[in-house]
Amino acid sequence: MALSLAIEGLDAGYGAVKALRGVTLHVEAGETVALLGTNGNGKSTLMKCVMGLVRPDRGRLSLTIDDRSHDLTRLSPEAIVDLGVALVPEGRRLFPKLTVTENLMLGAFRKLARSAIQQNLALAFETFPALKERRNQLAGTMSGGQQQMLAIARALMSSPRLLLIDEPSVGLSPLLVSQTIAKIGELKQRVGLTVLMAEQNFNQAIRIADRGYIIVHGEIAVAAQSVDELKANNIVKRLYLGGVV
Amino acid sequence: MKRRTFLGGAMAVAVLGQGSSASAQQPPIKIGMSMPQTGGLAGGGKASLLGIEIWRDDINAKGGLLGRKVELVVYDDKSSASETPAIYAKLVDVDKVDLLFAPYATVPTAPIMPFVKQRGLLLMGNFSFQVNSKVGHDMWFNNAPWGPADSWAASFLDLAQKAGGKNMALLTADQEFAQNLALTARDVAKKRNLPVVFDQVYPPNTVEFSSIIRALKAAKPDIVYVASYPPDSAGILRAVNEIGIGDDVKIFGGGMVGLQFAAVMSNLGSLLNGVVNYNTWLPEKSMYFDGTKEFFDKYTKRAVEAKVDPLGYYLAPFGYAMGQMIEAAVNSTKSLDQKGIAKYLRENEHKTIVGPIAFSADGERKETATLQAQFRGVKDKDIEQFRSSGKQVILFPEKLKTGDLISPFEAARK
């Protein structure tokens, strides 16, 4: 099954704020692509553009599935979810007063997703056993790591083929960050997902990424073809650590 | 939308009447009033107004007053005291009406009493209660049959004591009229050494009376005097029926507003049986006077169209009577001089469709003609049954009496 995401010359923002300037980027089927950069550089906006939550001012955003191309700039988020795209948002955005199970069930809100609900639930609980133990707990009362697991599991409930993950490491301890990233890698192998992951944690992200982009001030500063190329690039350190080291 | 055409129609009739009249050169005699047409008092206000309008049409058919057509100028006071001062100022100073009628009920009337007194204007009262007691206006005449302030409670307690009542429970609404009744009831009870074993005031908008009735029942009274407003009257009777009131109770009722209105009566149906309550007019033999039957023939026809109370016993004939008294006074004094009219009204007894009316110095009836009647043999869901006699047997006053009290209350309910 061929699926690819192509973004070309994307400009987007909120009113007076320009968050993305001429972003060009592509993700091929089965790849894990990292979108690197510190906070406030436009990573989240790009994710929201793909989901249809933010309408770009200019540029192309197309998803090709089995040779059929879909112009995402014209589709509603509902339709985009139906195409098999899911986003794990920054800050997890769980429904804190709903239980774990209820959060998961909401992940399968679309009619198309409901048929596979039992399988997906089983998959989620198998991948994240902690969630199964806590299935009747309110999401808001869980620890950060568990919440991040739940956010990923919830996104899986819609049977996505392209999974967008926005900053999975936020607010987690290094150990948990490492575990979360590993889980994403594991899932990808297991379900055959295509993954676009925005992350500021460089070293963790490149553990599972095939290749990556670095975004600075809303522009793609580096488009690296491999992880090694990323590691070698000086801009990373300049960007992250202000040029020291 | 019907309602609007009715009101528009009422004004149009007034204008047309003027134009087609033979005495077109003579300006009409204008009678001004406010009437509650929205808000809590609107039901009564509309029925009362229809009675007055029937009188207007009758008098105009007879050629008017002093050869001039009669025209009504009516404004809506929204059942509120704060609206009437401006309305009556407009009626007097702008519309230059010749005569004033008061709006239905006490609250909208109270604020205009000082105004008419100060201006020296005649005001025909319309079912308000003791509004003149503090003002002392000598050109005020209330059409209601209340009579002296304490006669109301006195007549009920007379009946109760005759039936063997030894102590009293009072249940009253926290609103102006009911509180005035409660006040006199407490006084009368004190004078007669009747202990008051239960005395509760409930707030407007009380939804559920079961709790209150349970508490009342627990006090084991044998006279239950209730002064309530329409929405509550129904609630109280329902609760009494459901919770029960105990076999001790000799007599129940007295001052329940609402049990005079067709909608409430037909809805409560058999729940009404046994209740002794005040009333003003009833289709009993003793209540028919000259013109009474003709009035109700006309009223019944027009009430449907006007969406007002289909029976109209409570207020409408007194609205008509108010007109009749004015008619008599103007025709005898041959003028619109208000002092003259007032003098005539004070000094004479007036024949009306609700019987002879004579006033005492305070402008209230010399003698009370407030009926105390007991509901008997009422069936459910039937408005028409109330048109026949015997459903509400008049126990008081003596002159109009058509039967005797059945006591105790539980026995009368069967």
Binding site: M51, L53, P77, E78, V81, D82, P89, R93, L94, F95, P96, K97, L98, E102, M105, L106, A108, F109, R110, A113, R114, R154, A155, S158 | M1, R3, G39, G40, A42, G43, D174, Q200, V201, Y202, P203, N205, T206, V207, E208, S210, S211, A215, A218, P231, A234, R238, N241, E242, I243, G244, G258, F261, A263, V264, N267, G269, L271, D309, D380, K381
Partner: protein, 288 residues
């Protein structure tokens, strides 16, 4: 003691009835943040609808209530759409102007009722109205038992709906995080519109209970603005179980004060309770 027990029992019955008339508001105001001061006006309108069906076709009031729910559902969809397009979407001041808007709607409904039905109070007839159940000396009105049972069923049904169905969960979720819900492929506006429809549809039954418990008149809604908002706020916004608990507390408190201390203080007591809750625990008893 007997008297107190009776007051508590009747208070619980009354409380469940309060829950039924408030539970729709608990969704529309509690979950959706719509300052729906016209809620009681819709309630009274429903009562008149029930009255009309009962009067003309002799349909049982509860069935009549059920019969008008689809109509009220559509009515709710429409009302929310108008509110959304004119206020929520434009953002600023939505709450203040929304209140004024709904007051306007309430007045319009009042007048339409007066034009159609007149100002007299109306009530319905049914076999269970006017009878009572006896336990020795103790008697409970059957209409109250009916209202109690239906109110309880209605509230529980709504609670189950909100926790066990896709739509219900989405309705609770939309109150917590609209954008996250979009990510699930749900359109929050449509969810909210649907929820408002449900909240209004529930009024069909609640309106039937209102007119079963006591007669209605066109301006009765004003008496219920305070009561319903009191229950919903005390409950904690949007909590259905909280609504039931708060309504029962209100009912019992009113009933006890009515029985033991004198009725004229009852309204002050219930609103003092509301103020107390607002001052001490602004998020209500259970909170969303």
């Amino acid at each position: 003691m007997d008297l107190l027990l009776g007051a508590v029992v009747l208070g619980v019955l009354l409380g469940c009835f309060y829950a039924a008339v408030s539970v729709g508001l608990s969704v529309s105001f509690g979950l959706l943040d719509v300052p729906h001061v016209a809620h009681p006006a819709f309630l009274v309108l429903a009562s008149y609808g029930v009255y009309q069906l009962n009067e003309s076709y002799d349909i049982d009031p509860l069935l009549a209530g059920l019969a008008i729910t689809p109509l009220f559902f559509l009515f709710g969809l429409l009302a929310y759409r108008v509110y959304y397009e004119t206020f929520e979407r434009r953002g600023s001041d939505a709450a203040v102007r929304g209140i004024a808007f709904f007051f306007g709607i309430a007045f319009i409904i009042e007048v339409l009722i007066i034009l159609q039905f007149g100002v007299d109070q109306r009530s319905v007839s049914a076999t269970y109205i006017g009878k009572s159940w006896r336990f020795g000396e103790f008697r409970i009105p059957i209409r109250q038992l009916v209202a109690f049972a239906v109110a309880l069923a209605l509230t529980l049904l709504l609670a189950v709906y909100l926790s066990k169905t896709f739509m219900g969960r989405a309705i609770r979720a939309v109150a917590q995080d609209e954008e996250a819900l979009r990510l699930m492929g749900a359109n929050p506006v449509r969810i909210k519109q649907f929820a408002f429809g449900i909240a209004t549809a529930v009024l069909g039954i609640a309106g039937a209970l209102l007119i079963i418990v006591a007669p209605v008149e066109p301006t009765l809604d004003r008496a219920y603005i305070g009561r319903t908002f009191c229950v919903v706020v005390m409950a904690g916004l949007g909590s259905i179980s909280g609504t039931l608990i708060a309504a029962i507390i209100l009912g019992v408190a009113e009933s006890i004060v009515l029985t033991l201390f004198g009725a004229s203080w009852a309204p002050a007591i219930s609103f003092a309770m509301l103020l107390g809750v607002l001052a001490v625990r602004p998020q209500g008893l259970l909170g969303r």
